[in-house]
Amino acid sequence: MIRLLIEKELKELFRTSKVIWMLGAILSLMFLALYNGYAYYVSHSSLLRESQEVTYKQFISQGDKNPHLGAHFGFYAYKPTADMAMVDNGIEDYTGNSFYLEPHKRGVVKFKEISDATGLRSFGFLNIGYLAQFILPLFIFLITHNIFSKEWENGTIKLLLSSKATTHQIFAGKLFACLLLVLSMIVVIALAFMVLLWKENDQGSFARLLPACGFYILGLTLFSIMITAIGTSVSLLTKSSTLSLILLSGFWLVGVFLLPRLAGEVSKNVYPSITSLEFENKTFDEKQYGVGNEGHKDIRREKLLKETMAKYNVKKIEDLPVYFIPITIEFFEESDGVVMDRAYQAVDENESLQDHFVLASAWLSPFLAFRDFSMRITATDMSTHNDFTRKAENHRRKIGEIVDDFYQKNTVAGNDFWKTVPQFSYQAPGIGWRLGNATHSILILTGWMLFSIGLMVFSSRKMTV
């Protein structure tokens, strides 16, 4: 019975010219999105890999230099293009991709892609993530908005309801017909994505990426099912194609464009961002006097000198068996590090509060929840970026320690020493960490899924003439 209903719905859909045009449009967009994402991934990942190699080679072959001066030459730690950026590049364009590893100087992430982009980029970057979050729901609503209402408008509902088919079977038939159309597109996306990923990765990397890909595709599938269920239920409840189209497109418009912007603006008012001036002032004062107001830098340097001389049991600085300058550098590197860690933690926490506020509004917009889920699973979100900056900063400090230890006993460093400074490499955390990060959005999507199930049950009871 359900198979019969599915076949009838699909026949009707495929014989409707507007559906054929829509399908053609979305398929074209889908392949364009796949190509765009793939081109972005390939060009960026190779560029970043090459840049990191070049700057590191320059650093380790800089020749004989004072270790301190040579260390300041520094090199770049590039955040590799996220392994699933061809699906969703999330906020990658806005966060920057390179961290300057210069000992004794806190690094910041530079080179934001968006700074080189034209104004057109403000409309978003067409990749599969964008298609799935914004265009696919609209397509689903356009397909489903009249899937039931047409029965009332064409007057076929009486014949349908006087048949042997139950209301549940009729609902299932229509829902599954729409799902067949939507899910077949997801299958094409998934297959194409897998092929491209396999092409760009070795066997080990591909196997490592499979769980994240699996969860992304599962999430996309469930999200699409939920949107289809909502569209179908609204079509049944309104019994009017015009009304259901207005309701569904309004829901889409508010959920995709208005709500995220509104929530973003409100979150900035509720949790005001720390300005660079406030940041500079606070960190400058704390660097000068210490986090616990331990005293001015000069006083702390004097104290350190006394402690160092006591340690080596000498009375004068000239009698020290090691150079004192690297010891002060290392001391203040640690002390300033605590200051900067606190300051960056405050920034991160504030950003996190803003993010949570915006994400909370996803209880009103499943599109927003899926966007968050998508970015977290593809590791193109803020948490992954913060993870990269943390690891890059740790690496920078490690270089500082290596150089300072060497500098205490040597005034000249050659290539043999520079080669002992390790190259930086970053790999985004695995699927467990990503899923942990996405808990909030998964919870919201589960809530929406339960809502859509409730809506289906409620609406199918309203299937009367």
Binding site: M1, L5, K158, S162, S163, K164, T166, T464, V465
Partner: protein
């Protein structure tokens, strides 16, 4: 076969059907006459399970419609005033779909036979329904009723807008079904058709059954007079 026991339907404060008692036996063709709003379509809609009765019972072959709607759906077929079908499907595909929904799996040859019995020309069967005339759609509607092998047929103004030839063809099919034991409840404004086709005639007014007549016992003139007298009460 069909039984209404104290059937009442209220829409808010308006009583659309007021304590209707009616029994239609196997093979009967019962024509319900009445002006607009008399309660004819409401009666049919309750029997089809489209709307629930406010009180009373509607029974089909002993099964109460509201209690056992799934079972009663198996027994009935419905032809509305305008048979609305799926315009993008052909007549054959529509028939195939509705016969499938009724649980039958006919071969294409059998379905063509049903179409021909219903009076649809062979050449029209594989054309899309969007190109069909009202009469042609009505014939597909009859074919849908035929494939279902329904025991009870509900017709709501079925010949309205049909040309005399098509209307006559339609009457012949209903008579043929009646001979095979199918009970028919038909709402109509057409007094002549009611007199010629039905073996029983009911005249409804403001939700009540005012007259329950045997067709052979009433002349066309008397039927017209009775009908006009009832309708006049409303003026």
């Amino acid at each position: 076969m069909l039984k209404a026991e104290n059937l009442t339907k209220q829409f808010g404060t308006h009583t659309a059907l007021d304590n209707l008692n009616l029994e239609i036996k196997k093979g009967d063709i019962y024509c319900l006459l009445g002006s607009n709003g008399a309660g004819k379509s409401t009666t049919i809609n309750i029997f089809l399970g489209f709307i629930p009765a406010s009180s009373g019972r509607a029974l089909i072959d002993g099964n109460e419609v509201t209690v056992n709607n799934h079972a009663t759906r198996d027994l009935v077929a419905y032809i509305p005033e305008v048979v609305n079908l799926y315009g993008t499907l052909t007549g054959m595909e529509n028939l195939e779909f509705f016969s499938g929904l009724s649980g039958y799996n006919y071969s294409k040859t059998e379905l063509i036979q049903f179409m021909e019995t219903a009076g649809l020309q062979r050449s029209a069967i594989d054309k899309r329904v969007s190109s069909y005339s009202k009469g042609m759609r009505q014939k597909v509607g009859i074919a849908v009723a035929l494939v279902k092998k329904a025991k009870a047929l509900f017709l709501d103004e079925p010949t309205s807008g049909l040309d005399p030839h098509a209307s006559n063809e339609f009457s012949q099919i209903i008579t043929h079904l009646s001979e095979q034991g199918v009970s028919t409840l038909m709402a109509t404004h057409d007094l002549l058709m009611a007199k010629n086709l039905g073996n029983r005639i009911g005249i409804m007014h403001q939700g009540s059954l005012k007259h329950d007549l045997l067709s052979q016992e009433v002349s066309h003139t008397d039927l017209t007079r009775l009908y006009i007298d009832i309708v006049k009460q409303n003026v």
